[in-house]
């Protein structure tokens, strides 16, 4: 039986964009929509009930460094409670192009838990960070509160992430 060696690497990378406070649903105050096929709003509950992609939008955070720039073919937003003002969960699929806290992430699928500050990417994922070569992985989790990346089966560039010399 073919053995599959899965490599898990945890990286703590000091980008300039670290959350100053723990992230939760109250960290976000608006969505700027640059592109969407349809948006369905519930004017009784003030909630977004559906967004039909492709989308290009930004979840605007109270701390601008935590803004989430999101592009995807499909997206769903969900609320924990019926009376919540802000969504607590974002699910995206296909042709993801995401900018979070200084990372540019291309992936097949993502689940972002805004309440816990966790972004989980599945399938082939390419993450680019400032001053480093892009890393290709088979999945990744970003803790937006600690800036820790958990990379699954990464293809690490030959250079150290923190090494500025060849």
């Amino acid at each position: 039986m073919r053995r599959i060696l899965a490599t898990w690497i945890i990286l703590t990378i000091g980008t300039t964009a670290l959350a100053q406070n723990s992230m939760n649903t109250d960290s976000f105050e608006a969505i700027t929509v640059r592109k969407a096929k349809e948006v369905e709003l519930d004017i009784k509950t003030s909630q977004i009930t559906r967004i039909e992609g492709p989308v290009d939008l930004t979840f605007e955070a109270k701390e601008k460094v935590n803004n989430l720039d999101l592009k995807a073919d499909t997206i769903q937003v969900r609320y924990t409670n019926a009376n919540d003002k802000a969504p607590s969960f974002i699910h995206m699929e296909d042709n993801l192009d995401i900018n979070i806290q200084g990372y540019n992430i291309l992936s097949e699928k993502a689940d972002i838990d805004l309440d816990k500050g966790l972004a989980t990417f599945t399938g082939k994922t390419i993450v680019a960070m400032p001053d480093t070569d892009p890393i290709t992985t088979q999945g990744m989790t970003l803790n937006m509160n600690t800036n820790k990346l958990l990379l699954i089966s990464p293809n690490i560039p030959r250079l150290s992430l923190n090494d500025t010399k060849p």
């Binding site: 976000f28 608006a30 700027t32 592109k35 948006v39 519930d42 004017i43 009784k44 509950t45």
Partner: protein, 195 residues
């Protein structure tokens, strides 16, 4: 809510004391035998139409029994209204309308023009249409009301404001009863808690 065709309760509320009298409230009389060609042409244009100053028209849901005290689903007032030749369609000028909602702020609409189909229970308002309900304000050029579906639709450029929320779209479909509004190709900012 499923609505079905009900009789459009028509109230020809003539304006009060001091207001303009109706232009006409009865089928046009036969032209006199010595009618001028211009007179005949005007008659041909108006046909059997009936023009009214200060017109109020209503639609109700399927529970309507004809009692005047029942709350309508839709009401429109026009400063000028005219019943067209087929006697089912009113054309309206300088209109105000209300879409009544259960336990929510009613929706108030204004528009320059419109029409009201008392057979199909549909209406259209056009020309600088505004819709207001509480802090919600929508501006567009034309909307259609379908009483059976309980929906307002527009296929025109739309601006939606509600608090800090500012959106534009190429059209929308809204169900005032359920509170749902679909915006097509929206752009702008949705502020949480202010939709």
């Amino acid at each position: 809510m499923i609505r079905h065709l009900t009789t459009g309760a028509i109230v020809l509320a003539l304006l009060g004391c001091g207001s303009e009298p109706p232009v006409s409230n009865a089928p046009a009389p036969s032209p006199p035998s010595d009618a001028t060609p211009q007179h005949a042409a005007e008659e041909a244009l108006t046909g059997a139409s009936m023009a009214v100053a200060g017109l109020d028209l209503y639609m109700h849901d399927d529970a309507f029994t004809g009692q005047d005290t029942a709350e309508p689903t839709f009401w429109v007032h026009a400063d000028q209204g005219e019943l067209t030749g087929d006697e089912s369609l009113w054309t309206l000028t300088d209109t105000q309308a209300v879409i009544y909602r259960d336990d929510e702020d009613d929706m108030h609409l204004t528009a320059k023009k419109g029409w009201f189909d008392q057979v199909r229970n549909t209406a259209q308002l056009s020309g600088g249409v505004t819709i207001e309900s509480g802090p919600l304000r929508i501006n567009t050029q034309r909307v259609d009301w379908d009483n059976a579906l309980g929906t307002v639709t527009s296929e025109n450029e739309t601006e939606l404001h509600n608090g800090a929320t500012r959106l534009t779209a190429i059209g929308f479909t809204m169900s005032p009863d359920t509170g749902g509004i679909h915006l097509y190709q929206p752009r702008g900012t949705i502020t949480f808690g202010e939709l």
